[in-house]
C-alpha cells in the first residue's frame, strides 16, 4: 500500500488536472460572449478579452497574447517601458535581448522588483513570450527558443504561490 500522503497527493493532482480541463471548457463560451460584446471601435486591439488566466497559470500559448496579458502591464503595449518614481525598462530595441537565455532568466527569476512571472507559465509558454519580445518592438533576433532551451536556465526557489 502506498503511503497515504502520496495517495492524497496523486488524488489532488488528478483533481487539479481535471479542474484545469474543466476551466478551459468553461472559458470557451465566455470568450465567445465577451468577444461578442467586443472592444469598442477604434480600440487598438492591445487589450485581451476576456481574462482567461486562472490564479496559477496563464492559458494562452501564443507569445503575443502572453505579452499582452502579462508584460504590457509594466513594459506597456509598445514595449517602451514607463517612467514614474522609478522606471520600467524598454524592451523595444533592447540590445540585451540578443542573448535569449538572458531574457528567459529574467522571466523565470525576475530582476530588481520584477516578479518571476515564469511561475505562471510552462516552458513552452515562456519560450513563446520570449520569442515574441525578441522578434517585435524593433528587435529582430532570428534564433527561436524552445521549451528545451528554457529548461537550461536554473529556476530559483520561488515566492510562495
Amino acid at each position: 500500500m502506498s503511503h497515504p500522503n502520496r495517495a492524497m497527493l496523486i488524488q489532488v493532482s488528478r483533481i487539479v488536472r481535471k479542474q484545469r480541463t474543466m476551466l478551459l471548457f468553461m472559458l470557451l463560451p465566455m470568450a465567445v460572449l465577451c468577444r461578442a460584446e467586443g472592444a469598442p471601435a477604434g480600440d487598438t486591439g492591445q487589450t485581451l478579452i476576456p481574462t482567461s488566466a486562472n490564479a496559477r497559470q496563464f492559458l494562452y500559448q501564443d507569445g503575443g497574447q502572453l505579452y499582452r496579458a502579462i508584460c504590457q502591464g509594466c513594459h506597456m503595449a509598445d514595449g517602451k517601458g514607463a517612467q514614474g518614481a522609478g522606471a520600467y525598462p524598454a524592451l523595444a530595441a533592447n540590445p540585451r535581448l540578443a542573448a535569449g537565455l538572458y531574457a528567459v532568466n529574467i522571466v523565470q527569476n525576475g530582476k530588481n522588483g520584477m516578479p518571476p512571472v515564469g511561475r505562471f507559465l510552462d516552458d513552452a509558454q515562456t519560450a513563446a513570450v520570449v520569442n515574441y519580445v525578441r522578434s517585435h518592438f524593433g528587435n529582430d533576433y532570428r534564433d527561436v527558443l524552445t521549451a528545451a532551451d528554457v529548461k537550461q536556465v536554473a529556476v530559483r526557489p520561488r515566492p510562495g504561490f
Binding site: 460584446e37 476576456p50 488566466a53 486562472n54 490564479a55 509594466c74 510562495g160
Partner: protein, 535 residues
C-alpha cells in the same frame, strides 16, 4: 469502498488534501504567512538625541511617517521628501473628485458620491497589529469594525451548483456537518488509526455532534440543529406568522466537488480573525493624522533622483515632480529611506555590496483592486449582505462589501475585484476602463443587479502605480536567508525601513515595526557616532 453516506475514504482523503492545499495556497498567495505577533513595545522613548542633528526621511508612507513623527519628537531636525502630493504612500483612499494617473498615462477621475470611497491598498487592521492600532489611538483616528467573515455573503464557483452562488453559512454548516458525521462514523466503528480510549471516543462523539450540528444518531440531516446553523427556509416569526420551515443541507458529494470549502478557513487565519478594524472614512485617515502632526516637515511632489553618502553626511538629489525644474539637493547627517525596493533598486545609492544586493533582489507582487459605485446598496436591500467578502473563482476573485453606513439610503461603493496571481497581471495589462468593464461583467454573474445599478468605477493595478511599481515585497525563503539581515543593517548613514524590511509583508504593521526598529538602532548609532571632521 463506499460507506452508507456514499463517501469513500478516498473522497475524504482527497477532501482533506484539497483543504490543506487550498489553505496553503491562500497563505502563500497572500504571502502573509510570515506574520507573527507584533513586536510593538509601546510608545517609543528616544532619549538624549544630540543637538542639531538632521535626519532626512525618504517617502511619507507609513514607515516614513512613523520615523518622522518619532524622530521629530525625540528632538532631531527632520525633513521628509515625498513623491506624491499627499502623505500615506500605499495607505491610500480614493474618493469622488480624486484624479489618478497611472504609468502609461491613463488618467481616471473618481466620480464616487461624497462619503463613498475605496482603499486601493491596505483596507483592514487586525487586532494584533498593536503598532498601527496604537498610532490610531494616539492620533485620534476613529476605528470601526471591518466585516471579514459574513455568513450571508456568497461563495461562488463557475463549475458548482450551475454557477449559482451559495451562502457562506450553507457551505460552512454543511461542510462541517458532513465532516463531523464521517468522523463520527469512524470513531464509532473504531476505524481511526490512532488509539482512542473509550472515554476519549465518547467525548469526541459529543464534540462532533456539537461542532457539526449532528442529530442524536450522529447524522447530519435536515433538522432544527442543522437549520440553526445554516438558516431556515422560513425564519421564526411572531404572532400568526407562518411556522418555521427547516432548510435542507447541501448534498455531501456536491459540496466536496464544488471546491467552495476552500474559502471557509480565511477568517480563522490570524491576520483575518475577528476583531479586525478600518478607520472611519478611509484608510488614509491615519496618514492625514500624521500629516497634521508633522506640519510642514513633508516636502511633497519631490521625486528622488539619487542618494549619496560620505563620511560627513547624506545628500539626496530630487526634482519637483509637478513643476519639473532643476535638480535640488537635500543634505542631512543621516537618512531613513523608506522607498519601496521596486523604486530604490532603480536609483543610484552608494551602499555596501550586501545591502545593494538585497535592494536588487526582492520581487514585487501584482495585485489589483477595483471600486464600483451603484445606484443603491442592493447587496443590503436585496440580499441582506452587510459587509464581508464574497469569494469566487471568477477572475475578480473577491467582492468586498462596505463595512460602514449600513442601511444608509442612496448609493454605495463596493470593492468589485481584489485580485492576486495570474489574474492580477491580466487586469493590470488592461486599460483602466476595461478593468472596470470586466469587473462589472464578471460581477453580474454573482449579482445580476450590477447590470441595472452600476454607475462608475475606478481601478488600481499596483504595477501601474507610478510610485510603487508593485504591491509589496514578495520575499521567498531563500531570498530572505540571503538578504534580509543585510537589508535591515544600517549602512554608514543610511537605514532602510518599510514593509519590505519586515516579516509582515504588505501589512502596515510591517512598515510601522520596521520603522520603529530602524530608528531605534539609528538613534543608538547617532548617540555614539564620532563628530565628523568639518570640511
Amino acid at each position: 469502498m463506499k460507506n452508507s453516506t456514499g463517501i469513500s475514504r478516498r473522497d475524504l482523503l482527497a477532501m482533506i488534501g484539497k483543504t490543506a492545499g487550498a489553505g496553503a495556497m491562500y497563505q502563500a498567495m497572500t504571502t502573509l504567512g510570515f506574520a507573527a505577533e507584533s513586536g510593538y513595545q509601546g510608545t517609543l522613548k528616544l532619549d538624549g538625541a544630540p543637538k542639531g542633528k538632521t535626519i532626512l526621511i525618504l517617502g511619507a508612507g507609513m514607515a516614513g511617517l512613523v520615523a518622522a513623527y518619532e524622530l521629530r519628537n525625540a528632538g532631531y531636525s527632520v525633513q521628509v521628501l515625498e513623491y506624491n502630493a499627499r502623505a500615506g504612500g500605499r495607505s491610500w483612499t480614493l474618493r469622488g473628485g480624486d484624479t489618478y494617473t497611472e504609468l502609461g498615462g491613463a488618467t481616471q477621475h473618481c466620480e464616487f458620491d461624497p462619503g463613498l470611497y475605496i482603499n486601493p491598498g491596505p483596507w483592514r487592521i487586525p487586532y494584533h497589529h498593536h503598532g498601527v492600532l496604537d498610532y490610531c489611538k494616539r492620533l485620534g483616528v476613529a476605528l470601526e469594525p471591518f466585516v471579514q467573515v459574513n455568513y450571508n455573503a456568497m461563495l461562488h464557483s463557475r463549475s458548482a451548483y450551475g454557477g449559482r452562488p451559495q451562502r457562506f453559512r450553507h457551505v460552512q454548516a454543511d461542510f462541517h456537518g458532513h465532516v463531523a458525521e464521517l468522523l463520527g462514523k469512524a470513531v464509532q466503528s473504531n476505524r481511526l488509526d490512532q488509539s482512542l480510549t473509550v472515554e476519549d471516543a465518547e467525548k469526541l462523539l459529543v464534540a462532533l455532534r456539537q461542532w457539526g450540528a449532528l442529530d442524536n444518531n450522529y447524522r447530519y440531516t435536515k433538522s432544527y440543529a442543522s437549520s440553526n446553523r445554516r438558516g431556515f427556509d422560513v425564519d421564526p416569526g411572531g404572532g400568526t406568522m407562518p411556522q418555521i420551515e427547516l432548510s435542507t443541507p447541501l448534498d455531501a458529494h456536491g459540496l466536496i466537488d464544488s471546491g467552495l470549502w476552500q474559502h471557509l478557513a480565511v477568517g480563522t487565519e490570524y491576520d483575518f480573525q475577528t476583531s479586525i478594524f478600518q478607520p472611519l472614512g478611509g484608510m488614509d485617515m491615519i496618514a492625514r493624522a500624521f500629516q497634521r502632526e508633522l506640519g510642514g516637515l513633508i516636502r511633497f511632489n519631490s521625486k528622488v533622483n539619487a542618494i549619496h553618502q560620505d563620511e560627513r553626511g547624506v545628500a539626496v538629489s530630487y526634482v519637483d515632480s509637478k513643476s519639473g525644474g532643476s535638480l535640488q539637493t537635500a543634505h542631512a547627517d543621516w537618512c531613513v529611506c523608506t522607498l519601496p525596493l521596486s523604486i530604490l533598486s532603480q536609483l543610484p545609492i552608494n551602499v555596501g555590496p550586501a545591502m545593494d544586493a538585497a535592494i536588487h533582489d526582492v520581487p514585487y507582487d501584482a495585485a489589483v483592486k477595483i471600486g464600483l459605485q451603484f445606484k443603491r446598496r442592493f447587496w443590503e436591500l436585496d440580499e441582506q449582505i452587510y459587509g464581508g467578502i464574497t469569494y469566487t473563482d471568477l477572475p475578480i476573485e473577491r467582492i468586498g462589501y462596505p463595512s460602514t453606513d449600513f442601511g444608509k439610503p442612496g448609493k454605495g461603493v463596493l470593492l468589485g475585484a481584489y485580485v492576486f496571481g495570474a489574474n492580477a497581471y491580466e487586469f493590470t495589462s488592461m486599460a483602466p476602463q476595461e478593468r472596470v468593464r470586466q469587473a462589472v461583467a464578471f460581477g453580474t454573474q454573482i449579482h445580476p443587479q450590477y447590470a441595472k445599478e452600476f454607475e462608475t468605477g475606478i481601478a488600481v493595478g499596483w504595477h501601474r502605480v507610478p510610485w510603487a511599481n508593485g504591491c509589496y515585497g514578495m520575499w521567498s525563503e531563500d531570498r530572505r536567508r540571503a538578504h534580509y539581515q543585510n537589508l535591515c543593517e544600517i549602512d554608514g548613514r543610511i537605514v532602510l525601513a518599510g514593509e519590505h524590511a519586515s516579516y509582515i509583508p504588505a501589512w502596515q504593521e510591517g512598515a510601522v515595526l520596521s520603522a520603529l526598529d530602524a530608528i531605534q538602532r539609528l538613534h543608538a548609532k547617532i548617540k555614539t557616532a564620532p563628530e565628523p571632521a568639518k570640511s
